[in-house]
Symmetry: C2
Subunit: 125 residues, 2 copies
């Protein structure tokens, strides 16, 4: 399995890439054949092009990610809690999310699931 | 899918059952054929008897769970961050964990994964 510090660094790069508004940097942490299910239970975005398109669209809201507590590392997995902050339609909004990343041997994310739903939206009026 | 408030209540019952030291109450939130993978990547505890035995052993440490931030609810899933507090071998210890619960139509947990590893242990010397 990949080193824990490498997996933790990937999570911090994910947050930093959002702060920089760079969907290319987000896409670079994923394996070419990765699947992103965001939120879990919806049709996944599979492969580099679909993942890049998904994050390009996500970042058009100006979303900023704020980690909540330490990254959990278990075997090939990282899990982390965070808030997404948006300024949209004239007001500040927040969505509370937990993501899980599964890593491959090369240290790239091959599977990502995001956990959030209607009860986690705040300020959407 | 089960109601979000029911899924959130199951998470709070899980925490309360630990506080009460009742493995029976924890086991009662699971479906009879549930699988508990704690931590993820290890052999699962499958079915009521195995799950009851697992939580009976877990509680012998006097573990107390403290939720960190809101429960995330996504479709049939709940995810939540927490700390496990233990007093063991003469000192206070803490493990930071994220759990995911998948619910069945009856509102019982059918799949549980726990995310934590060596980097999440504190005070173990």
């Amino acid at each position: 399995m990949p080193d824990a510090s490498l997996m933790e660094a990937a999570v911090h790069e994910y947050v930093a890439a959002f702060a920089a508004g760079s969907p290319e940097r987000v896409a670079a942490i994923f394996a070419p054949d990765a699947a992103v299910e965001d939120p879990i239970g919806t049709p996944p975005h599979v492969g580099h092009d679909a993942i890049l398109a998904f994050y390009t669209a996500s970042m058009q809201t100006g979303a900023r990610l704020e980690l909540q507590g330490p990254v959990r590392i278990a075997g090939d997995y990282a899990a982390f809690a965070f808030s997404v902050h948006l300024h949209w339609d004239g007001s500040d909004k927040r969505v509370d999310v937990i993501d899980t990343f599964k890593f491959n041997e090369a240290g790239k994310v091959i599977e990502m699931n995001a956990y959030f739903g209607p009860t986690n939206f705040h300020g959407f009026g």
